[in-house]
């Protein structure tokens, strides 16, 4: 896309037939260049966005908890092949039910190149809690402000620039059902991955004692499990006394968790694509 095109109203640009940069690849996941994860509260339209991008028909339903396992699909955008992982919707990454664990483990150990947090424009406050928890784990985050049409209908004006400024990561208004804003979302994701856009996620600072404790603990975790991502987040969980993380550490499973999340290949995704349809 040239610069000139960028100035056109994006809505028309994206719905016109000439919009060909996005190629849906369904579950052909043989080789891909980048992995992105879709996270968000329940019922914010993650699966709808997933379907729009991949051309798959992961069953979407208007009720929370439709996706309890993760589904994977692929698409090509600007000559790069993406694998996209649709995670179960969760309100937080702190508690222990199985669907939340699926989401958390993937963001933590699957090391996606970028995580899109899909938020509901009409209930932004509650949605941002999760976005900020994801931002604690990784800095490659793009916030997609979905359901903009519903917000407009309810007379809500969402200033995504202010949102992006406050969060320290890009915030893109979209309507996943109609495809509005998808192009801008994908080019932003690409720029975050390439480093053209530098993100500075706003993180909870806590007390000086807390910062000191995290700074002491993180290097120890990195030393014990070389190559582990998100040592900072694990340190916080350990300080909090998270039994699951403690257990994984004691049994030496941290490294295994990393490799398991990354191993999941075509077979797995095919199975999920079928299960998700039932």
């Amino acid at each position: 896309m040239t610069d000139k095109n960028k100035e056109l109203p994006t809505e028309h640009c994206e719905t016109c037939p000439a919009f060909t940069q996005l190629e849906q690849m369904g579950i052909e996941l043989d080789n891909f260049d980048r992995v992105i994860a879709l996270a968000g509260n329940p019922n914010t339209g993650k699966s709808t966005l997933f379907n729009t991008l991949t051309g798959l028909k992961q069953h979407t339903g208007n009720w929370p908890g439709k996706t309890v396992t993760r589904a994977e699909g692929g698409f090509e955008f600007n000559k790069m092949r993406y694998k996209i992982v649709d995670l179960p919707g969760t309100y937080s990454l702190l508690s222990a039910s199985q669907d939340e664990e699926v989401a958390r483990d993937f963001i933590l150990f699957g090391q996606p190149d970028c995580t899109i947090v899909v938020t509901d424009a009409t209930a932004l406050e509650r949605n941002l809690n999760l976005a900020m928890q994801v931002m604690e784990i990784t800095q490659h985050v793009v916030v997609a402000v979905n359901l903009m049409d519903e917000a407009r209908r309810k007379g809500l004006e969402v200033d995504t620039r202010s949102l992006a400024r406050d969060l320290g990561v890009p915030a893109i208004p979209i309507v996943a059902r109609s495809g509005e804003g998808i192009h801008q979302l994908l080019s932003t994701v690409a720029e975050v991955i390439e480093g053209t856009i530098a993100t500075q996620p706003r993180r909870v600072e806590g007390t000086p004692e807390f910062q000191q404790a995290v700074a002491e603990l993180s290097p120890m975790i990195e030393a014990a499990a070389p190559g582990i991502p998100n040592a900072r987040w694990l340190a916080i969980r350990l300080l909090d006394g998270d039994a699951k993380v403690e257990q994984a550490l004691r049994e030496g499973n941290l490294a295994e968790l990393v490799s398991r999340q990354q191993r999941a290949g075509v077979k797995f995704s095919r199975k999920m694509a079928v299960e998700g349809n039932q």
Binding site: N62, G65, S97, Q98, N129, L163, L239
Partner: protein, 462 residues
Amino acid sequence: MTTPNEILNKAAELRGTLSTGFRDEIVKSLYSESEAITNRAVHAKGEKTYDLDQRIDRIVTSPIFGLPLMLVILAVVIWITVIGANVPSNMLASGLFWIEEQAATLFTNLGAPWWLTGFIWHGVYRGLAWVIAVMLPPMAIFFPLFTFLEDLGYLPRVAFNMDFLFKKAGAHGKQSLTMAMGFGCNAAGIVATRIIDSPRERLIAILTNNFVPCNGRFPTLIMLGTVFVAASFSPVYASIAAAGSVVAVVVLGVFFTLIVSWALSKTVLKGEASAFTLELPPYRSPNFLQILYTSLIDRTFFVLWRAILTAAPAGAIIWIMANINIAGTSIAQHTANFLDPLGFLMGLDGVILLAYLIAIPANEIVVPTMLMVYMGTGMMIELESMEALRTLLVEQNGWTMLTAVNLMLFALLHNPCATAIITIYKETNSRKWATVGALMPLGIGVVVTIATASIARLVGWV
């Protein structure tokens, strides 16, 4: 190299330097920051218009109208299915059986051996034809309607309305959601119980999911309601009676879900119901193309394809059983005779029980299997319409109203299909719970049908 224990000790030591509840403070600041950021970014334009969603919800989830409205909606959906499916079912049946006849004649004329013609056309093909004729039209009407309600956002309201009942039963309120999913497919409902955090409540939800009839069983119920219950009423009320009987079965299923959940939570799975928040999503105008796709491709053809895959071998097995004779009687007849005493006790007969044995892989094929055994063991007749079906069952095989009612009860209360049993095993990782999940509904079904049969006979209805 740092050992895990060193890290854990260090973490414990550092925790001591932090004020207690430091995590609460962090969570609190997370919340207040979210609030501040939202306030800066979101502005309400002009006067806030009245919220239509809330007005609708005040009626849909009201303590007085909520539950009755649910029943009415269910009844209307089933009623539309009943009146809509009748004609296409008959057309499909006559068309498909005409093909069977022509093909069988062709085979005979070409000099094919009788057993080949019989096996392929009167065995395998007839099984398939029945599955398609009986199941396709109701599914093609029921599923789009169901998906419409789902996309609209009605299912969480159902959960909301029923939450207090599950709470009283000592189960998790989210169980009403997984139960609703069970109407689609019990195996899917069992997988969906992952949204329940507490293992105790999750196990209850898994074990009781089978008490609501799934897609595979709805056509059986609708067929029985249409052919038998409706036939005892004047034509004006026939379709209403048919729909009413199916709704009654569904309500009974929910009743058993609650009673068994309650019994489990008072005995082997003791505990209190945990609290949870259920978010009522906004009503969204459904996307009609999406609904057609989901309900026709994902649901209708998925279920139909599974039925076809299992019906073909079942048709073959039945044909073989019906055509291999020992001491002058076919194996099918021997087996049915063996099962007859138990069948009689349950107000059913041996053939029906045999059909349930053969149909363990998929509930969808119970009725076709039963019909094939009846036709294979008795006189061969061509079933051209639903009326002919009634004649076959009532006049030639001695069905009564009790048989139809008890078969509807047994269709609701019996072991889950093989897929659901395997899913229970996978989700619980326990042979014990998979066995309980399989045998408990079956046991209840046997007891209930024996009870109704005994009462009916005692009172002299039959």
